[in-house]
């Protein structure tokens, strides 16, 4: 047992181990988002379908376990990300006076920590408004969602968050493949654009929901 | 001084076995009681330090660069020879031996060269095992290419970076020993004194190039693997830090310096573009396989190359050497280029270059096929000169490349100072008067990995060496001498920079002791060099202090040694009245103007003994005899 702990510690404190953990949890979050998106599509079907779906989820006995798991994944991802980033800042104590990119960096990769932190703020708001509340009237959770989306600042906030998500994943998805060493002369050139397309799709698909609720949905 | 080469008895093939059998062994448990200092981390030095560490000796390894991986062996491009006979084209140890002796124009020791050829195969095995990514064919086996001076394909290579890959292999072996603690590597250290105790080499003083402090290290033996001294010519294909310092300190402490005038000039280098130039870049010799060398027939013709019609071009190599054409050996090609430039037919702004033209090859094989072979060289040339060799002919000129001369060593690689060994390009080596392409890497690795471990044990086990520590007063004296030189240089406060005076020295050497040498010129230079040396010590400007990272001081210290070495080279060139290999005495040539050897008068090694400041050094000779490779006059007509 002791040996196993040593092995885990060796992995979990090394630079590559930590970034693989960040990548793994990141990909798990992507997985969650895919499911979340699929479920959320029911929004377009109307109140009944959406509430039904929500109640179905709430009735699962395993839900608390899954939610705790999700929380753990989030926390792990965030901890690893903060730890790595903190070290990376300290690895160059004296900055360059003149700095020019040779073309490797992208907006997405350069802003990972900022988009990530923004997403964290978003999540706190999102979960406290959509998850940690009891819907009082019969409009249920559907009503809550649509009500929030009537506010322009909220919609704008969501659109910003989803842009951040898109940026985060524009680098994150392809980066996670690289982090796990998925590399092949024929596959690598595809992974990059595919990751980017996926990020744009996810952000756009989520982004349509507040817009739809605000502009198109009329009770 | 007695020059005893200590060649083992017995037939040529068995001499090396014989020596390894005779040599006393050091008991494995006792090896860690022996401290060995290895100066240099090139192929020879890193190889020696690594293999001595593996054996269990306590090794100290010094180099000038910030990492052992940067020794100038890194720059070798072409390849390394070995007698594997993989291509089944009739190669053998015997043939590699014969080619090397002949290539050296019969001025090397047969026994040494034979041993080199024998060891060559083990080098390939060892380097492959170390992870050197040699080129391979589709069956996964090692590939060979052909190289100058041989009719067989025996050159192993790793793209155009063979030296780099071999050095990184040796460096990795060294790093493994460093990790084990048996070798201590000290980079950014320059050896500035050799320390003798009771007539034996027992340590070195080096300058810590970061702090400027003089540091003393004691040991039971000292191995110098400090590379060549081509930079005495200022411009050469050598790296900036290549220097003669370590060997020169040894010379001044009694080690004989052999054949200093044997320098190799490589025909295909990018020509000098101005006085700002700090080094010359080699372009692979392989270019001559498809490029045609020419100059305009008319002296002073300044038309652009495209506008010179075919019948006004002089393809001088093809004209003079119809059977070998553009593929004559290095020394012959270099001299021919000099001849046409001396006639005023040189091209380019400086008029000191000749064309190497790919027009016909491109017309014949197509651009794609030619690029396949030389694409990266074309790009490199284009990048440096801003001229595209696919459109206009390349311009090339010979440049100093390698020094065959060096500290005299016996068969065991020991100099005339007991306990002082010399390896690699720094010794006077197995290449005679001219080195074949791809043979220096072979020699460095043979010396370092395979020869020194055997012969050093013979010395250490065979002698009673008392304990000497760096506290010994001999070290204090050496430190004092080194410090005095530093302080003197700092105090001159003159008007010329070290690089400036070095440039002038190089110009003199190139002019009078370069591709062609004659009595009048050598005498003239012999008069001028001491004047320049005097000027150096009176008029050099070195800023900063000795107790600091001071590159100007480093440069000045190296230049000071070159001033003295230059004189010795000139003397040696003057005394050797024959032409042989890279040494071309204009007085000694055949009626057609080719180099003419004088075997009756000069079939020997000339080894110079220092006699103190102000006295002329004494020339000793070690006669050479050729029983297996019979001397013949080279001809490439």
């Amino acid at each position: 047992m002791n040996g196993l702990l040593v092995v885990i510690r060796r992995y979990g404190t090394s630079s590559i181990g930590r970034k693989q953990i960040a990548a793994l949890t990141g990909l798990m979050l992507v997985g969650f988002l895919c499911g979340h998106l699929a479920g959320n599509f029911l929004l377009y079907k109307g109140m009944e379908a959406f509430n039904h779906y929500s109640e179905f989820l709430q009735s699962q006995t395993l839900l608390p376990v899954i939610e705790l798991g999700l929380l753990a994944v989030f926390l792990t991802h965030i901890c690893m990300a903060l730890w790595l980033t903190w070290e990376n800042w300290r690895a160059r104590p004296e900055r360059y006076e003149v700095r020019e990119s040779a073309g490797g960096r992208t907006w997405g990769s350069a802003t990972m920590i900022w988009t990530g932190l923004f997403l964290l703020g978003f999540l706190l708001f999102h979960v406290s408004t959509f998850r940690l509340i009891e819907a009082e009237d019969e409009a249920g959770i559907f009503g809550v969602v649509v009500a929030w989306f009537q506010s322009v600042p909220v919609v704008v906030f969501y659109l910003c968050a989803l842009t951040a998500l898109g940026l985060h994943l524009s680098h994150g998805v392809q980066s996670a493949f690289q982090t796990f060493g998925a590399e092949h002369p024929n596959a690598t050139p595809v992974i990059k654009p595919a990751g980017l397309a996926f990020a744009v799709f996810l952000a756009a698909a989520f982004g349509l929901m507040p817009l739809w609720s605000h502009c198109i949905y009329r009770g | 001084m007695k020059l005893d080469a200590k060649i083992p008895s017995g037939p040529l093939e068995q001499k090396w076995d014989q020596r390894r059998f005779e040599a006393k062994l050091v008991n494995p448990a006792n090896r860690r009681k022996f401290d060995v200092i290895v100066v240099g981390t090139g192929l020879a030095g890193a190889g020696a330090a690594a293999s001595l560490g593996e054996l269990g000796y306590n090794v100290l390894n010094l180099c000038i660069q910030d990492s052992p991986r940067r020794a100038h062996s890194i720059a070798a491009q072409g390849g390394i020879n070995a007698a594997k006979n993989y291509p089944n084209d009739g190669d053998s140890v015997r043939r590699l031996f014969t080619d090397t002796v002949k290539g050296g124009d019969y001025r090397a020791r047969e026994a040494n060269v034979y041993r080199l050829a024998q060891i060559s195969n083990s080098i390939i095995d060892h380097c492959t095992a170390l992870g050197v990514p040699f080129a391979r064919d589709y069956g996964g086996l090692l590939d060979n290419r052909s190289f100058g001076g041989a009719q067989v394909s025996r050159t192993f290579y790793a793209r155009g970076q063979t030296g780099q890959q071999l050095l990184l292999g040796a460096y990795s072996a060294l790093m493994r020993q460093a990790a084990s603690g048996r070798v201590k590597v000290l980079p950014r250290r320059e050896m500035v004194e050799l320390v003798l105790v009771d007539g034996r080499a027992r340590g070195v003083v080096c300058r810590n190039l970061v702090t400027g402090k003089l540091e003393s290290y004691a040991g039971h033996a000292v191995c110098l693997a400090t590379g060549g001294y081509g930079n005495v010519f200022y411009l050469s294909t050598n790296a900036n830090s290549c220097n003669v310092g370590a060997a020169w300190r040894a010379y001044k402490k009694g080690a004989a310096f052999a054949n200093p005038c044997f320098t190799q000039i490589h025909p295909t280098c990018i020509p000098v573009s101005g006085t700002h130039q700090s080094k010359l870049t080699l372009m692979s010799e392989s270019l001559r396989n498809d490029g045609r060398v020419w100059v305009p027939k008319k002296a002073g013709d300044s038309r652009s190359p495209e506008s010179i019609p075919e019948d006004e071009r002089d393809y001088f190599l093809e004209r003079r050497y119809p059977s070998f054409g553009n593929l004559v050996p290095r020394d012959v090609a270099s001299r021919a280029a000099k001849v046409v430039c001396d006639e005023g037919k040189g091209v380019g702004a400086s008029k000191l270059s000749v064309y190497l033209d790919f027009r016909d090859a491109i017309k014949r094989d197509g651009l794609a096929a030619i690029r396949e072979k030389y694409g990266n060289l074309f790009d490199m040339y284009h990048h440096i000169t801003d001229e595209d060799p696919q459109k206009v002919p390349m311009r090339i000129y010979p440049a100093v490349h390698y020094t065959m001369g060096g500290l005299w060593v016996d068969y065991d690689l020991m100099t005339t100072v007991p306990g002082l060994f010399c390896l690699g390009e720094a010794n006077f080596s197995d290449h005679g008067a001219n080195r074949l392409g791809a043979s220096a890497l072979m020699q460095g690795l043979a010396d370092g990995f395979f020869i020194i471990p055997a012969t050093l044990s013979g010395y250490l086990a065979g002698e009673k060496l008392g304990k000497v520590s760096a506290e010994h007063e001999a070290f204090r004296e050496a430190e004092k001498a080194a410090d005095a030189r530093v302080q003197k240089l700092l105090s001159v406060n003159g008007k010329r920079t070290p690089a400036d005076i070095h440039r002038e020295l190089g110009g003199l050497m190139w002019e009078y002791c370069g591709m062609g040498r004659n009595e009048a010129g050598l005498k003239k230079a012999l008069a001028r060099v001491p004047e320049l040396k005097e000027e150096f010590w009176k008029n050099v400007r070195v800023t900063g202090s000795g107790a600091d990272f001071n590159q100007t001081l480093e440069r000045a210290l190296r230049t000071a040694d070159y001033m003295e070495l230059a004189e010795l080279i000139l003397r040696d060139a003057l005394e050797r009245k024959e032409s042989c290999g890279g040494h071309f005495r204009e007085e000694s040539r055949t009626p057609e103007g080719e180099a003419l050897r004088d075997d009756a008068g000069f079939s020997h090694v000339a080894a110079w003994e220092y006699q103190g400041e102000g006295s002329a050094p004494v020339r000793h000779t070690e006669p050479l005899s050729f029983e297996h490779a019979k001397p013949s006059q080279r001809s490439y007509k």
Binding site: S15, R105, F180 | M175, R176, A178, H276
Partner: protein
Amino acid sequence: MIGIRLNLRIWRQKGPADAGALKSYEVDGILPDMSFLEMLDVLNEKLILQGEDPVAFDHDCREGICGMCSLVIDGRPHGKDEGATSCDNRMRRYKDGDTITVEPFRAKGFPVVKDLVVDRSAFDRIMQAGGFISVNTGSAPEAHCVPVPRHKAEAAMDAAACVGCGACVAACPNASGMLFVAAKVSQLALLPQGAVERERRALSMIKQHDLEGFGNCTNEAECEAACPKGVKLSNIARLNREYLRASILTPAQ
């Protein structure tokens, strides 16, 4: 006077413990054929004659192979010339009156020694941790005992081309040395000779890399763009794979 005049802003720092700053200089007579280092030579020759301390910078081969030169020119490690080391940059790209800023490689793992000179001995220590194949002189088998598929030998050579200059660290926004480590781990993992020790090598080289204070790779790809020897990012992918594999397969000692 022939040649162009340039304004230089050069990082001057007396020693590791001293504070540094950019200092301005002027040079003239700079010719298009000069290399960047030869331009600095011109400046230094002038400074020496003025009795000023010349600018310290590392260099040796001056032909792009030793990996000693290490300048950040206008924010780009090894300058803008493609596939070139600092010494291989030419002055052709500059116009009369241009201003050029020259800084040292900056990273915690590469402390400044003086001016533009940094201490890269961390790379040697990473190599000592496992960048080798454990074979003693004399014990190697005949070279042809082990064939190596050509494409693997070629890929190993691509990785082996690394000159250990450290530009990857200098360019990396995280000052990570991953490309350097990856090049060596890849080279030796691709060859059957090196495969025997691959787990140990990956684990200990990364351990040392982290200890030296280099940052973590977040796949920024600036290193690949700065590398003068074209070492590819795919090597980092391979290193990541090797590391994961080694982490699983290697028991705790």
